[in-house]
Each structure stands twice: as C-alpha cells, then as structure tokens.
Amino acid sequence: MASHTLEVGLRGTRDYVQGSQILARTAEIVARDHPDAALVTAKFTRITLRGVELVVGDGEAPSGGDEIGRGQVQADGERLAVRWFEVPGPEAPRIEDVPGVTSGLAPDGSGGGRADFAIAGTFESYLAAVIECVKALHAGRGERVSDIWFTALVGARLPATPTYPTAGSLAVELKIERMVDGRLQTLSVVETAGDGAPPAYQICFSCVIGD
C-alpha cells in the first residue's frame, strides 16, 4: 500500500495540526479505493506543527519522519492499518480558522455533558463538533485546566463519506480518568443523536490540571 502526504495546516492561531484534519484527509484517501471505509480506531502519541505523511497498510515508513500516531480503518470487510508520520522540514502552512459548530453546552457535573451541533455533515465537520464539545467539557472543569488534547478514538464506526447528520446533539459520558505523568487522561463514551448518526464510541483526551 502507498504512502500519501496529507494536505493539512495550522488552523487559525493553533500551533499544531489538528487530529481531526489528519483523520479527515486519511478518510478521504482511503475512501477513494474503499467507498465503504469507516474509521475504527485512532491513537495519537504526539502532536506536530509540520506536515504529515499517511502510510496505509504495510507500506514503509518515510525516512526521517517520527511516527505520531496509528489507527485502523474498516474497509471491504477487513481492517486496514494506517500510520501517521511527521514530515521533517518546514511548518505546515497556516490556514483560516472556522467558526465553532456546537451550542448549548450542558455539563453533567461528572466530567461529561451534552451539546447541540450544526455542521456540513462531513466526516471532518462531525469530528470537529465532537472534539469541540469534549474539549469544552474538559475546559469547563476550571481555570486550572490547560493543554487539552484529543488523543484517541476507540471502538468507532465513523464512515469516511458525508453521511452525518447536519444537526443533532452529542451526549458525552466520562467513564475512566487517570493521572499519568502529571497529565489527566480521560476516556468518555460519545453518543450522537440525529439522522444518520454513527453508533456510540469512546474518545480519549488528556489535559493538565494546575495547582
């Protein structure tokens, strides 16, 4: 299988390439050969502000690039491994920010909560809504919370094609939280309501809780 340079950028004032961009560009590339492709898992071990190379299947890792994450896509009834590598060199180009897509955030007091969303119905717009919602719930824990990162998706079945509801709501339930090396790691279950909503899955974040 081939490797592909992903068209990603530093959105707005961010100093990192968003995981949602990496996953969205990956989904588009995989869907070219496998229209039924769905993202199952994704795990990021570090962030980058440089370009990103996607390796699908058993393809060779690009020389000199550090692995920043890996995942699995379900396609044609089989699991396809995907890996992402940082491309050594200049920073990714800066791209325009996009407005928020969630509203009515309602924390449940236990680390979870709900929010409504209005999106384009694409994989990327849906993922952006979910990450925006979960990030806001983490930020809502207090002023001492910083460095909030989306780190993983597990047990998902997120179609690569634009089959997502254009309006709906998200319910996030915090299931596991752990302190590891000074960072709080969380695992929450995300349930989506709306026409064509994907089944529930787990999402992981990490953040720093200050003194």
């Binding site: 993983a152 596991i176 752990r178 695992l187 992981c204």
Partner: protein, 81 residues
C-alpha cells in the same frame, strides 16, 4: 466470581483492547511493565473490563497504577463477591 473467572474477564478485556495477546496471561503478568498496554490502552482496558463485568470497580480511581494481573484479579473478585 472465582479467581479463574476473574482472570478470564481480564484476558477478555485485554484482547478487546489490543486485538490479540502474545503468550499466556497469568497472575504474574504485569500488563504495563510487560509492554502489553501503554497508558492510553490502559484506559481502554479498564473501560472494557468494567463493561464486561457490568460494574464499576471502585478500587480503580484516577490514581490507580497497578496493572499486575494478580492485583486486578483481587479487585475483580472483591467487586463481584
């Protein structure tokens, strides 16, 4: 739940988390130190374990870091007694 049943539940949660497990999982196995789980996987493992058992394991709080299978078996047996 017996210790054998607890070990089976732990092995199932581990398999759900990492796909396939190389070698035997015994009470002497340390899931993190032996390289079967990294810190992200360990959260998924705990989620799968609690899901499989159908109960929250009160002994596993945010500071929990003992991933020796023997210790986990103790917790599961106690929680399901």
């Amino acid at each position: 739940m017996t210790r054998e049943e607890a070990l089976a539940a732990i092995t199932k949660a581990l398999t759900e988390t990492v796909g396939s497990v190389d070698g035997d999982v015994t009470e002497g196995t340390d899931l993190v130190a032996d390289g079967m789980l990294d810190s992200l996987d360990s959260m998924t493992f705990l989620f799968e374990l609690e899901n499989g058992l159908g109960t929250k394991l009160a002994a596993i709080d945010e500071a929990y870091e003992d991933f020796r299978v023997g210790a986990l078996v103790d917790i599961v047996v106690q929680a399901t007694a």
